[in-house]
Symmetry: C2
């Protein structure tokens, strides 16, 4: 009854989302603060009769708001059902095995190889440098690749490349192959490459409302790039699902993106807590990678990552462990409130 390609799939495994027991959830990089309070006001007075109509398949209002916020035009903006969907559509639209392999870092968002298998795209993983940084030069030495993708800051390391490094990559890579920079975490101290889309028509930036906008539950993401790239994403969308973003998601997204003051304040708090937590964890003898994201990637020398994960889980704290050779000893810890991170540090001192 099943297609051959379906039988070969190995799905992505998202971080645990326990629906029953209450954990201190530091495993899926959710924001510890609520989203913009204006959303509450909006929902209270929302006329539910509007839901009987289909949402705008062109997302015009939300795209205009995002364009304004990012300093681009509406034609440079595509909306998706979470940034994962924008990624999925992009893999379909831009990467073809007949043109060679897609390149991404050895340790990165583990959905990338899943998309490749889903659409039949070959790929090659490029090792990180010894200090866990993405190795731009190694990407550039590969010939005949069909494109490049990585998050900046990278996940799960949290390490961020400078705009200068990105320009170096863009200047020296084929202008006829797409480079995707997944900026899910860029608001926590990285520098966005959005301003480069005018110079590089092959640059696509992927963004999400799930992290810095504290709206993981809403499912809303977007892509920013040249008009040509955005049109291609609309073609894919309209061949898959005409209405991927619902009316409430579009309206709530437009409210959130306009409330810059609120989001600056909570982002600032998360950055302060991360930097404090980074220092404290180092003080306790952990090896901690420098992070510009809302998480920390860290190892306690001599203790396998899985053991850390399991012992913390037994104490009611969820972190993320990747059972992958090379980062086996690490765990990824989401930055919560200062109080939550102090609780975490207390537990860590007790356990280890």
């Amino acid at each position: 009854m099943f297609s051959e390609r379906m039988k070969k799939l190995t799905p992505y495994i998202p971080g645990e989302q326990p629906q029953d027991r209450k954990y201190l959830k530091l495993n899926t990089n959710e924001n510890p603060y609520p989203p913009s309070p204006w959303i509450k006001t909006f929902l209270k007075s929302f006329d539910i009769e509007k839901l009987r109509l289909y949402p705008d398949p062109l997302f015009q209002n939300l795209r205009a708001k995002i364009a304004q916020g990012c300093g681009v035009q509406s034609e440079n903006v595509f909306i998706s059902n979470g940034s994962d969907e924008a990624l999925s559509f992009s893999f379909y639209a831009f990467f073809d095995s007949c043109q060679g392999e897609l390149l991404f870092p050895e340790f990165t968002y583990s959905f990338y190889p899943v998309y490749c298998d889903f659409y039949g795209i070959k790929y090659e993983k490029i090792p990180l440098r010894d200090d866990f940084r993405i190795d731009i030069e190694a990407f550039l030495t590969k010939k005949d690749s069909c494109g490049i993708i990585f998050p900046n800051p990278n996940a799960p390391t949290g390490i961020c490349l400078s705009i200068k490094s990105l320009i170096h990559l863009l200047d020296n890579y084929s202008q006829d192959r797409v480079i995707i920079i997944d900026e899910a975490y860029v608001d926590f101290g990285g520098e966005s490459a959005v301003s480069l889309i005018d110079r590089y028509r092959n640059l696509l930036i992927i963004k999400t409302f799930s992290k810095s906008m504290s709206l993981a539950g809403l499912r809303l993401g977007f892509a920013i790039g040249s008009k040509e790239l955005i049109q291609a994403l609309f073609t894919v969308k309209d061949s898959f699902n005409s209405y991927p973003a619902g009316m409430l998601a579009q309206l709530i997204g437009a409210i959130a993106i306009s409330d810059t003051a609120y989001y600056q304040s909570i982002t600032e708090k998360i950055i302060q807590t991360r930097d404090y937590f980074y220092s404290e964890l180092k003080r306790l003898g952990w090896n901690v990678l420098p992070s510009k994201a809302n998480f920390i990637f860290a190892e306690k020398k001599g203790t396998p990552g899985e053991e850390i994960y399991l012992r913390l889980k037994a104490r009611g704290i969820l972190v993320r462990h990747f059972n992958v050779q090379g980062i086996n000893n690490f765990v990824r810890i989401t930055i919560g409130t200062k109080k939550e991170m102090d609780l975490f540090l207390d537990e860590v001192e007790k356990i280890f």
Copy 2:
């Protein structure tokens, strides 16, 4: 910069969704009545802080509610971002060109050939009978097909097959190839085949919250079938987007599916209005197909469908015209309130 497959796509074109001018919108089969009033109560008191967390990727609460409503188990239910996404995932999971061609009616939901092109599936269109009914016997004479899909009632005709006809098809088709029945419109007078999923492990039913549940703006659909088929859809979902249905969609869907009394009352009104409208249109000399859906497919002999569409649009009324040989003379008219249909009839009497 683009993949070869993307360059070959011809996207689906949804009905117009004008965001500015106010039309009497009878073109995309939306429900004229608001959704369950309990949704308003829910939104008023919804704690927006919950939106900071990812939604349940297993949709457990909503699946349980739907299973209860449909008399199946949760393991028989899959949730999607509108029923179009469930359709798209199903095409990927169940239909492979190496097994032959997918069969669907010549005049039917025009997204089916788009999905085929998107995933590289060959297909064959089976002509309708002279009376525009789906020709079950013609499906059964085809050898080596990779599956069958059609809506019941069919769109855009509105004509419904009996359960007896469906059983005849299921009994005489390969048990190792999936048959999908798209029941988007079944609540308006058709008989659902959901009760057959225990007998036919190759039967998948697709449903939507967009029509009878009056929640087109929400984007929520579901599929019902054997545990094996549902597991396959989860595998595809988890290789595409772990969280296709947001938290608000899941919660609102669970409220709607539980408010059977309200939805029975509005569905009853739509059925009465449809039957009244059918008679009136016939009285005005139109040829009207018998409909069990919330729309009517009709022609005014001697007047091309496109002319009807354009003249109505000029008068502020939107209907749907398909510029396709064989149904060129028809327009599809959504059933609104009785007042709206009387307005439509008045205009038609004036114009034609």
